[in-house]
């Protein structure tokens, strides 16, 4: 585990260094690389001088790095001239919604996929298996945003059960339980879209894992011991199947985040996805850079958590 922690530290340092180095190594004006051409056009020469001063762009690279690090420590990710506010503030405003959407989406899709995969693999070749497999393969055929649009059209536009957009009903001043309900109500459709587009991956992985594990000699041992089906299914097959699924979860965070960007846009859900989209349109580089740093760290953190969980389940890992 010590070695693992060191690995994570190393990865973290590399991410930060890249984030620092990449814009500065690009050919041309570093300020343009950091802020985008458009921001510079509208900029006065005093402001430009102030920025050069602030990033220490006239100093040597190591000195710039120290300046960069110290502003990171102060949670200062720069200033967005498009939104006219600090990047940190912008990101913090959007982050909770994305965390909610992606986090819950990850957990739910993994869990549901696992349950369905276990059911399917255990009943391999029987009607349960065939039914679930066909359904999910069909679902997998649609692009992520398409599922979102479909949900939106059916449940929000036609049936009107769920809101069309947003994460909250604005200006209601709700609090407590009512607020939670409102949030969940808004979350439902985007979350469903994320889960639906993500579930197949974890389902398929679970199913194949279960099928492989069912062929393991220790399952035969469990059968010979006269254990009941439920005991075999959960205690022996289920627990052992969890391992590869956990490993894959760490890898899937990045992908699921990318998928969530489109879904957020479809539902105008005010998370990082929408922020990325708008910043891209406006070429607001500081925001983009801040988000990428955050996402990279997020992926790293998830993997770390996955490793911790893995260690809890698998005694072979030390």
């Amino acid at each position: 585990m010590k070695k693992k922690a060191l690995d994570y530290l190393l990865a973290f340092i590399i991410i930060i260094s890249l984030n620092f180095l990449l814009p500065r190594l690009l050919p041309g004006d570093p300020l343009a690389a950091i802020y985008g051409e458009e921001a510079l056009i509208a900029m006065t020469s005093e402001l430009e001088a102030e920025l050069i001063e602030r990033f220490g762009l006239d100093k040597s690279l190591p000195e710039q790095f120290i300046i960069y690090l110290s502003s990171l420590l102060k949670a200062d990710l720069g200033y967005s001239y498009y939104y006219e506010t600090s990047v940190t503030k912008l990101i913090l405003g959007a982050l909770p919604w994305t965390l909610l959407l992606v986090g819950l989406g990850l957990v739910l899709s993994t869990l549901l996929g696992f349950i369905l995969g276990l059911e399917s693999g255990w009943n391999r070749g029987r009607w349960q298996d065939k039914g679930i497999l066909t359904g999910l393969m069909l679902l997998n055929g649609f692009p992520d945003f398409f599922i979102g649009i479909l949900l939106l059209l059916v449940f929000a536009v036609s049936l009107g059960i769920f809101p069309l957009s947003g994460a909250l009903t604005p200006y209601t001043g709700l609090s407590g339980f009512a607020l939670v309900r409102d949030i969940l109500w808004h979350l439902s459709l985007p979350l469903a879209a994320v889960v639906l587009s993500e579930i197949t991956a974890s389902y398929l992985l679970t199913r194949t894992t279960v099928i492989t594990i069912l062929g393991e000699p220790f399952i035969l041992t469990a059968r010979a011991k006269g254990l009941k089906d439920t005991a075999i299914r959960y205690r022996h097959v289920g627990k052992n199947s969890l391992l590869p699924i956990l490993t894959r979860t760490g890898i899937r965070v990045g992908r699921i985040f990318a998928g969530a960007i489109f879904i957020e846009i479809v539902f105008a859900y005010p998370g990082l996805g929408v922020l990325i989209f708008n910043s891209l349109m406006a070429r607001d580089y500081p925001v983009l850079q801040g988000i990428f740093l955050l996402v990279a760290i997020g992926v790293l953190a998830t993997n770390f958590i996955v490793d911790l969980l893995y260690k809890k389940i698998d005694p072979r890992v030390v």
């Binding site: 000699p217 220790f218 041992t221 006269g226 254990l227 052992n240 389940i313």
Partner: protein, 574 residues
């Protein structure tokens, strides 16, 4: 009592078990041996109701047919009445559960004990199988192969079942651990009904009183383990024994020809059997009682090819053969050893009809030999001690080897030549024209002896009587020719009467040995037994005189006591 009646299992269209009948009495240890893929594990799984194939027949435990039980009833049968130690030790335990949890699982599942009591029982069981209590909290990856095996054994004992099945209980273990586990198994087997499934004959020998030999889904031989191993009567059992490296038998390893096929008609072993008759391909032999065992073979097991009863031959007043009775079974080498003048060659000549015996009888293939016809010599060939005497000096090499083919009228002229060349090649001789045209009396001693061997082998006889066939050859050529003879024996069941005074050679090539002294057979038996515990003092002398490679002086100073006595007797005109 566990009874298996006409048990058949097939996976799809592939028949694995083709009618097994077995009875295992309470407290008995039965081993089921056979090559990989003969269906041993399938049988074990069927007894637990875990076989995935289609099962027919009856398996009765306490008057209850296991095969017709409902799934729930089968579940209560498992581990409570029959438990198993699986073959694949390394992977038979769940990697995510501790040893203790896994041993405890079946006790709790059946609510036999409270959690407290179950935990206590785990510790008792661990102690019983020779593990420390700490092992209960270890995961499988923290245990060595031997320890895992012990945990599996403890687990099998958990619910105190009447029947325990051991599937290859030691195949994954190193030699030392193996011995320890065998000891443990022997201990726990006491008082229980145990079925040991294995291809390791030494495990069967150590653990079981009764042994069933399974081949391609049928039992071919069944009887007391000791008797089957000492004196296998089914060709397959003998093949298994010959291919099993061990410290008891001394003959070079020999395999079984061909490989296991899924035979649909007749004896399942017939494609590999060297003594099959036409009936073997059509009818399935029943497992029948034959003296001390049951055998499934149309010929009643390995047949006796040649037998002599009380053969007597006198030259003047010297008895060269004095009531000699030998038996030679199909595919076996009988070594006849003894010093020169003990009557070995006379025996060979009488068998071949080159000398007439005064009294006694010779049987070949079950019928008494009165006069030998051409047919006899097609099946029986002799390699003489002094080949110069039997190969006419007017023949060249090629003609000498072709001669037997001409006599028997086998093949066309071209074919005969090819057969002769092949035989010459097999005995490591040249086949270029200059050599083929050379006359026998120009050949060296070693060469002419090999020509004689080629001449005997060329018509592919069933029995070879070889009188010191390799004594004129240097060791490396001799080794190749011995290998050749043993290979032919393996492939076609060549039977050999091998006369030699080279004890070390006899030890490597023979299944049985007969020791001759002054025209009498003074000792006879399986080579390994005769050589490891010789009964007759003369045999002991022969063994002392046999070549060794160690440099201890004791070898040279060994006294050949009995021979000295013999010499004294000769000198005193006795």
């Amino acid at each position: 009592m566990l009874k298996i009646n006409d048990l058949k299992v097939c996976y799809g269209n592939y028949r694995i078990l083709k009618g097994i009948d077995l009875e295992i009495r309470q407290g008995e240890v039965l081993s089921i041996v056979g090559e990989s893929g003969t269906g041993k594990t399938t049988l074990a799984l069927t007894l637990l109701g875990l076989c995935q194939g289609k099962v027919e027949g009856k398996v009765t435990l306490e008057d209850e047919n296991i095969l017709t039980l409902s799934e729930d009833e089968k579940r209560t049968l498992r581990w409570n009445k029959i438990s198993i130690v699986f073959q694949d030790v390394a992977r038979a335990l769940n990697p995510l559960m501790t040893a203790g949890e896994q041993i405890m699982e079946p006790m709790l599942e059946n609510k036999l004990y409270s959690l407290e009591k179950a935990k206590a029982r785990v510790l008792t069981l661990l102690k019983e199988v020779g593990l420390s209590q700490g092992c209960a909290d270890l995961y499988p990856h923290q245990l060595s192969g031997g320890e895992k095996q012990r945990v599996l054994i403890a687990m099998a004992l958990a619910n105190n079942p009447e029947v325990i099945i051991l599937d290859e209980p030691t195949s994954a273990l190193d030699a030392i651990t193996r011995v320890e586990i065998l000891k443990l198994l022997k201990k726990i087997a006491a008082g229980r009904t145990v079925i040991v499934v294995t291809h390791d004959l030494s495990v069967a020998a150590k653990l079981s009183q009764k042994m069933a030999v399974l081949y391609s889904g049928r039992i071919v031989e069944l009887g007391e383990t000791k008797k089957l191993l000492q004196n296998p009567k089914h060709p397959y059992t003998r093949g298994l024994l010959r291919s099993f490296p061990n410290m008891t038998t001394t003959k070079d390893l020999q395999g079984i020809p061909g490989r296991q096929e899924n035979v649909l008609e007749g004896c399942t072993f017939h494609p590999r059997c060297t003594q099959k008759i036409s009936r073997c391909e059509q009818e399935v032999p029943e497992l029948e009682q034959q003296a001390d065992r049951k055998i499934a073979c149309h010929r009643g097991g390995i047949v006796t090819l040649l037998e002599t009863r009380d053969l007597v031959k006198k030259y003047n007043r010297v008895k060269a053969l004095d009531k000699v009775s030998i038996e030679l079974v199909e595919g076996e080498t009988l070594a006849v050893v003894g010093q020169s003048g003990s009557g070995k060659t006379t025996l060979a000549k009488c068998l071949m009809g080159l000398e007439d015996s005064e009294s006694g009888e010779i049987f070949f293939n079950g019928s008494k030999l009165v006069n030998r016809k051409k047919e006899f010599y097609k099946q029986v060939q002799m390699i003489f001690q002094t080949p110069q005497e039997c190969i006419s000096h007017r023949l060249n090499v090629l003609d000498a080897v072709i001669e037997p083919l001409n006599i028997q009228g086998i093949g066309s002229r071209e074919e005969r030549k090819e057969m002769a060349k092949k035989a010459l090649q097999e005995v490591q001789l040249a086949v270029d024209d200059s050599f083929l045209k050379r006359y026998a009396h120009y050949l060296s001693g070693g060469e002419i002896q090999r020509v004689a061997i080629a001449r005997a082998l060329v018509i592919n006889p069933k029995l070879i009587i070889a009188d010191e066939p390799t004594s004129a050859l240097d060791a490396s050529v001799q080794a190749k020719i011995i290998r050749l003879l043993l290979d032919i024996q393996e492939k076609r069941g060549l039977t050999m009467l091998f006369i030699t005074h080279d004890i070390a050679l006899a030890r490597k090539i023979s299944d049985r040995v007969a020791v001759m002294l002054s025209g009498r057979i003074v000792e006879e038996g399986p080579t390994c037994e005769v050589f490891s515990s010789p009964q007759h003092p003369y045999t002991r002398d022969l063994l002392r005189a046999a070549p060794e490679l160690s440099s201890h002086y004791s070898q040279e100073t060994k006294t050949l006591q009995y021979c000295q006595v013999l010499k004294l007797q000769e000198r005193s005109g006795y």
